[in-house]
């Protein structure tokens, strides 16, 4: 049997759709930030990102060489919670970006719920949902906007990796 024969096909199809939906939402936010604030290239903000301490979510348990399903699902869920928290911390960047940010937050939260319910169905969910890790302090409007660009970029990378994992898990 395939790497994830315990996962229902419907779950994998839903997750793939949710990833693509969030990718589209994130692209809209990135386009909005670029159009409105001329912040178009995350690579120009790496130094600032380090100083602000904007984290990335690990997916080490999901690598195809050493995939452990429970650990992978748990990292997917934790990563989504992290990005939802980061997106919440970025609230108020600008009226123009608010709708895209709200939509993105809701879709990320939805995807986290999908993963969590599957972990529960597999009996792999811890008794209590992991708590929100501490968020970077973004003290100025510029830091929130720059933070948004970086979070969006990190999220896109996370989603790209997630999509590959889902395709790998869907193999017969």
């Amino acid at each position: 049997p395939g790497p994830a024969s315990s996962l229902p096909q419907g779950f994998l199809l839903k997750c793939s759709e949710q990833v693509r939906k969030i990718q589209a939402d994130t692209s809209m936010l990135q386009e909005e930030l670029c159009a409105t604030h001329k912040l178009c290239h995350p690579e120009e903000l790496l130094l600032l990102g380090h100083s602000l301490g904007i984290p990335r979510a690990p997916l080490s348990s999901c690598s195809s060489q050493a995939l452990q399903l429970p650990g992978c699902l748990s990292q997917l869920h934790s990563g989504l919670l992290l990005y939802r928290g980061l997106l919440q911390a970025l609230a108020g960047i600008s009226p123009a970006s608010a709708p895209a940010l709200d939509k993105l937050q809701l879709d990320v939260a939805d995807f986290a719920t999908t993963i969590w319910h599957q972990m529960e169905d597999l009996g792999q969910a811890p008794a209590v949902q992991p708590t929100q890790s501490t968020m970077p302090a973004l003290t100025s409007a510029f830091q929130r906007r720059a933070g948004s660009v970086l979070v969006a970029s990190h999220l896109q990378s996370f989603l790209e990796l997630t999509y590959r994992v889902l395709r790998y898990l869907a193999q017969p």
Binding site: G10, E17, Q18, K21, D102, D110, T113, H117
Partner: protein, 308 residues
């Protein structure tokens, strides 16, 4: 001075209503001749009242309207004073029916507004102010257990639909949904639906084009058309299947269906058509393999096939 009390201010159409009117003693003393309490329903005097006086001088009259057949009317308690009647109190009476069970509840997910819109048939006229509320809760599986209740959705005015906003939805989780109808005569609820919002997503039709040349740049074969289509842009993240239907322009309802088709294609050659004939073509798509509603058919594309 006078005060009406009712058995009920709202009854089923045709049911009886009993009313009593009490005239206080100090009010009675204002009128010298014996006071006959009269009842008016709208403008018509009503016979059959019974009247008596209490030891403390209070006058009381009771009347029963055996079959109240108006949906709305005013009942007045009056005293004869000189040549005309003095209205001492007035009560509004209403009659109608309890709400029927709302039927044919259905929902669709609108990707543009990101809201879940549900519609229903309210049933026959009740003649009474009737409030409809779309109720729902988040759940798992087949909605046997209720996790989080969602705020009731109250439709505007007389609409028979309501939209639950995105922030109350978990797009990929089950939710139980039903409609409650309530008026003064009772409450009724529709059967409950159990659905994932995204499983009832409604897509807009794809956009269908005809191309002038085949992939290698050669003109289309006789009896063939070169086509290209794209799904509705907001639905690009959704895996879909589509179907195409075509018929000669001059024919009526003689469609040929080509299905299933992918939701995206660079170029598609449709052959087997009559040469030198104008064809009408339409396309629609649906979420697939996950569930969803079919879109409407796209606007007609009209194209003439080449000569032989």
């Amino acid at each position: 001075c006078g005060r009406i009390s009712l058995s009920a201010s709202t009854v089923r159409l045709g049911a009886p209503i009993t009313a009593s009117c009490t005239i206080s003693q100090n009010c009675s003393q204002l009128y010298l001749e014996p006071q006959i309490i009269r009842w008016k329903l709208g403008t018509e005097i009503q016979p059959g009242a019974r009247q008596w006086q209490w030891p403390d001088g209070t006058q009381e009259s009771i009347i029963t309207l055996p079959h109240f057949n108006y949906t709305q009317a005013f009942l007045s308690c009056c005293l004869q004073w000189g040549s005309n009647l003095q209205i001492l109190d007035q009560a509004e009476l209403r009659a109608g029916y309890p709400p029927a069970i709302p039927r044919n509840l259905s929902c669709f997910m609108d990707l543009m507004t990101s809201s879940l819109t549900c519609q229903w048939e309210p049933g026959p006229e009740t003649h009474l102010p009737t409030n409809f509320t779309l109720k729902s809760f988040k759940s798992r599986g087949n909605c046997q257990t209720q996790e989080d209740a969602i705020m009731g959705c109250v439709p505007e005015d007389t609409h028979s639909y309501c939209s639950i906003p995105r922030k109350h939805l978990l797009l990929y989780q089950s939710m139980g949904i039903w409609v409650q109808a309530e008026n003064a005569l009772g409450t009724s609820v529709s059967p409950q639906l159990c659905l994932d919002p995204m499983d009832v997503v409604k897509l807009e039709p794809p956009t269908l084009w005809a191309l002038d040349s085949s992939p290698k740049g050669a003109p289309p074969q006789p009896g063939c058309l070169q086509l290209h289509w794209e799904p509705w842009k907001p639905s690009h993240f959704i895996d879909q299947k589509c179907e195409l239907r075509h018929q000669p322009q001059l024919e009526e309802d003689n469609w040929t269906l080509v299905a299933p088709l992918p939701s995206m294609t660079v170029q598609y050659e449709l052959c087997g058509l009559l040469p030198a004939t104008v064809y009408v073509l339409q396309m629609r798509c649906t979420r697939w393999p996950l569930p969803g509603h079919w879109s409407a058919w796209s606007p007609s594309l009209e194209r003439r096939t080449t000569e032989r």
